[in-house]
Every structure is written in C-alpha cells, then in structure tokens.
Symmetry: C2
Subunit: 358 residues, 2 copies
Amino acid sequence: KRRYNITLLPGDGIGPEVISVAKNVLNLAASVEGIEFKFNEKLTGGAALDATGVPLPEETLAAAKQSDAVLLGAIGGYKWDKNEKHLKPETGLLQLREGLEVFANLRPTSVLPQLVDASTLKKEVAEGVNLMVVRELTGGIYFGKPRGFGTNENGEEIGFNTEVYAAYEIDRIARIAFETARKRSGKLCSVDKANVLEASMFWRKRVIAIAEEYPDVELSHMYVDNAAMQLIRNPKQFDTIVTNNIFGDILSDEASMITGSIGMLPSASLGASGPGLFEPIHGSAPDIAGQDKANPLATILSAAMLLKYGLGEVKAAERIELAVLDTLNRGFRTGDIYSAGNKLVGCKEIGEEVLKSV
Amino acid sequence: KRRYNITLLPGDGIGPEVISVAKNVLNLAASVEGIEFKFNEKLTGGAALDATGVPLPEETLAAAKQSDAVLLGAIGGYKWDKNEKHLKPETGLLQLREGLEVFANLRPTSVLPQLVDASTLKKEVAEGVNLMVVRELTGGIYFGKPRGFGTNENGEEIGFNTEVYAAYEIDRIARIAFETARKRSGKLCSVDKANVLEASMFWRKRVIAIAEEYPDVELSHMYVDNAAMQLIRNPKQFDTIVTNNIFGDILSDEASMITGSIGMLPSASLGASGPGLFEPIHGSAPDIAGQDKANPLATILSAAMLLKYGLGEVKAAERIELAVLDTLNRGFRTGDIYSAGNKLVGCKEIGEEVLKSV
Ligand SMILES: CC(C)[C@H](C(=O)O)[C@@H](O)C(=O)O
Ligand SMILES: CC(C)[C@H](C(=O)O)[C@@H](O)C(=O)O
C-alpha cells in the first residue's frame, strides 16, 4: 500500500462542509487504488483567528510542511473583514502559500457540456471552453516590499505597495507554464502590461528567454486589459495563460465565471518541492454556511488535482473526475448549478452520489 | 456665437479616419447650435515618433493645454511595440494625461437595444446594462516611483513598479465618482483589493471618509477579482464603479466588451480645471487602418462627451447622441457591428449618415 499524510484545512464558512465530503471521496478512491491516507486536520483563517488569535498558527504551517499534500476548504468571512492586515483570514492564506513556497497556481476552467447553460455567455461562445490559467502565486505586488502607509514628500498621507519580480521568479513560473502548455495544446499566452510597467517589460523579456527551451510551444503575448476583453469575446482562443500574481487573481476569477458554475472549479498550487496546496477557487460563502447547501464538487475536484499533481496518483485522480461527471450525468445538482429537469440535492447528498460513482 | 479651440490628435492606425469623420459631425452639430470651433491638428503617438522622434512633442502638449478640449483618435501599433519605454506611443498618451492633469477617466458602457445581439452574453444578461466606470487616471502604478530595473539584495535582476496613492488623489476621484453616481442611480461601488494591498486599504479608508459628504449615495465595496466575475455574472447589478488606474484599465475594458461593440464606446478624461481629453476606448487597429473599415461612432460619441463634459454644451451633445442612434435605427452598420438585415457601410459613409441625422 502507498501511504500519504494529508493536511486538511477546513477553514471558514462552507469550508468544513465541503472538506468533510471531499475527505470521504478521497478515502474511497484511495482504497480502491491501493492507497492509504492519514488525515491531519488543522486550523486556518478565521477559525484559527478565533481559536488562537492568528490566522495561520505555527502548528498548522509545520503540519502542512511535513505532510505530502494540503487540501483547503475556504477562508474568510464578513466577521473578520475589518480586521487589521495581520489579523485577516486572507493573511493566513498568503502566509501558507509563502510558507509552502507554492509559487505556481494552476487554475483550469472548462465548460462541461452538462452545465453549459449555467454560463451567462451564449452557448456557442461558452461551449468547449477549456483553458488553464497559470498564476504566479508567491511574488509580485502581493509580497513586494516596501509596502505600507506613510507620508510623501509633501506630507500627504499615502498607502503603497511594490510590484517586483526577480528573474528566477519569472523563469520558474514560465517553465511550469511552458510544461503545462506542452501537455495541452502547445499554445501559451503570457499576459502583462508591458506597454506601461517595467515589471511587465521584465516579465516579458524573461518569458521570451525561457521560450527558447520550449521551441515546440507557440508563445504569444497579450496586454492584461485586452485579455480581460478577449476572455469574454472569444474564450476559446486561449489554451494556457501565464501571468503575474495580481493579474492572475483577476483573470482567473473572470475566466472561471465563463463557466457560470464556480462551485465546480478546483485549483492546485505547487512549489519546486514539498507539498502542494489544493483548494476550490470559490470563497467561504458565509451566507449559506452550515446549511448543507454548498457545492462540494470543486473541493472534490481539488482532491483529484491533489492526487494527480501532488502525489502523482493519476489513476485515483481520474477515478474521482469520472465519478463527478457520472454524478452530473445522473442528474444530481446542488442549488448553484441546478436547472430544470435535474435533481436538487444538498452538499452531503451529492457527496453520497459521488461516492456511489467512484 | 460661442467659440472654442479644439485640439485634434488623430494619432495612429485608424485614428486619422475616425477623427476626420468626428470633426465633420462636431462642426455641423456646432453650427446648428450656434457654436464655432477652431480646430488645431497636432501629432501624437507613433505618428509623432516617426516625425519628431518623441511620442508627445512639446508643441502638441502646449497646444492641447491652451485649447478648450482635446479629441484623440487612437495611438500605438505593432511597428513601435518593441521600442524602449520612452519611445513607445503609449508613453506619449501617458504624458498627455499627466500633462493635462486629467485624473478622472469616465467610461460609460451601455448595451444599446439596436446592438444587443453583438454581445457574447446572453440577451437577458446583456440587455439594459448601463454602467459607468470612473477610473483614476494619473496616479497609482502607472506613475508611481520608484520604478525601473535593477538588482535585489541577492544580486538577481529585477523589474519593479510602485502602486501608491496619496489622500488627495483618492479624495478627488472619489468626489467625481460620488457626483457621477448621484446624477445616475445613486449607487456607487468602489473596487479594490483591500484584503491584500495596503494601497487598497488606504483607498477604501479615504472613499469611506469622502462618502460622508454624499449621504444620498449608496456606497458598496468589492474586491477586484470578484468584480471581474460579477461583471460577467450579472452586469446589471452595477451602476457607477470607481477604482484605481490599473484595476480601472482592466475592468473598464472588460465592462466594455459586455456590449460586444467596443467600436461604439467613448471616454472622457477630466481634470480639476483645464481642457479635458476625449477619446474612443478602442485601439488603433493597425490591421484595418486606411481601409475605410473603422467604426467612427465611438469617436463621434467621444465628441459628444467633449461637448457635454468638456464645454458644457449639453444640447449639441444630445444632438450628436441622437444622430448616432438615428443612424443605427436606419440600419447603417460598419463591419464590427454588422448583423444580417442591416446595411454594411464604411467609415466615411456611416459618417455621412450621421451628418444627415444631426
Ligand atoms: C483571498 C485572497 C487573498 C486570494 C488572493 O487574492 O490570492 C483569493 O482571491 C484567491 O485568488 O485565492
Ligand atoms: C494604451 C495604454 C497605455 C492605455 C492604458 O493602459 O491606460 C489604454 O489601455 C487605455 O486604457 O487607455
């Protein structure tokens, strides 16, 4: 038997509900494929704040680092929105990404035939969309220094941040993106604002340099404002997109909404070595927390990414992916993806159905 | 007769074609309303680079400053894409914005009933969209210092920019946004990334402070990644959006694409005093330049904004707006907005039709 330690970080809002369902699915798929998991549940985000006073307790980071992969539910909520920076749930997530050095965030977006009607885009525009955003996750304006509050030379109060990228940071994310594109359609689009920002000019220069290692991948460049338009105009033109932390935050969320069903979308955050971090792209949805209404499929699909990208357990991953499709084909839907003619179920029940399909 | 000096900056690509048409429309609407224009045409962007070696000749900026309003076509093109920063056409545009101190960029997006089919969004999602993005235009990461290239403490090459806002910069754009919202539906959404960036936390703090002056306007806040999603999910939830320079660049382009017809969308850039800068939001479209295929309606509508916001000539502005609608109602379409059953015409011909409707 292959044995792995998995850190579970349920987090806030609907996090605990979707993690509990995903854990069962992981366990079953694993046992069928001869894998054994040891789960270690830890506090993070608002839950950690309330219990320990910090959004990422040392114990949580230590456990995560020692494990083989980390599965996270969701973090944040209105309750902590006005907290100071170091006491925000989001800060815990950023510390976790930094602590695990997971610099590459992979966000696949595909419009499933079963759910194409959920898109607010016209059917002919949405159907067949299948793209991957590779977002740099541990650099740029999220982490750049100097940052903070102060006064300028005229004594005016200011708030400021630094967008900064070093060559090695761009090179390593570019390589992940080229590898990703190579395994997909062989087309990579690098998104920047090189007509205005030096950080983007440097980004583009390094991406072009790394491209020499990947002569089989077709590289293009697009300005971020144009990319935001093209994702609506014709999302099918994209296969793999690579971009910096903040543009990736914006564009990957925009891209995900093309599906109309962000309750379906997983993500993987990977480093050079060490455990990866896997989480649904949706938020903690405090308005429906604890009501058994959440859609756990994004977390279940994140568990599949954990198996595939985190542990190299491709067969178990595919088993879960197929189980999710089978559940959809059998007509089960949570409220967020419900349409007439299907069966409306809650978080737990759709989880049971996925288990049947595993 | 009321007399005004207008600086015309045709710029690059399709710029000269659309400006020439818009000039005729301006002239006719003016003469009907008892206005007289003196036009002064100057070089900018790539055209200025080729002729003078710089993207914004001093003479152009001086003329613009002395005039009552500036109408710009478009700037940029593949030809200059690899130029160094100070020799990029875009740099000329940024220098112009900075030189005129036009800190408030107003970008209206509305889906016209005549063109609702041009949207890639479903009809029920797109129809009735009518929103205004108020983008800060002379601050933030576009202009912040320090910026450039260098090495970090490990001797690694880096590229960097500074996102910085001073209180007065936020306060003045917030006031414009509140005034704008007040004249519209009374709803203002401020977009930031205050869960991560200090510059955004400061932005939010100042916007909330200024809100006290506008108790009749309903203020909400949204993170930029969520805003990028919500614009696709349900654009009708928005009326007026205010945001910083870079988020405004991205979101206003995204919002404009909701219409599917960016050849229709104008913009106004205003300062505290001095001439405003008016331009279509589309680019220079080098691929169709000189072929009489461009859609001049965005520039014509920018001329209407010039009359309204720049000169306070509301009647002449409305005359132009109605003429554009009348031309559409009569079935005239350029290629970018063509649909079966209408009359496909070129840039000049649709301009002639607008003149008939003025
Ligand atoms: C919660 C927030 C800090 C985070 C981010 O901005 O990275 C989220 O939006 C995401 O994309 O995972
Ligand atoms: C051309 C470019 C510098 C400009 C910007 O980023 O402001 C353009 O995209 C715009 O939005 O007017």
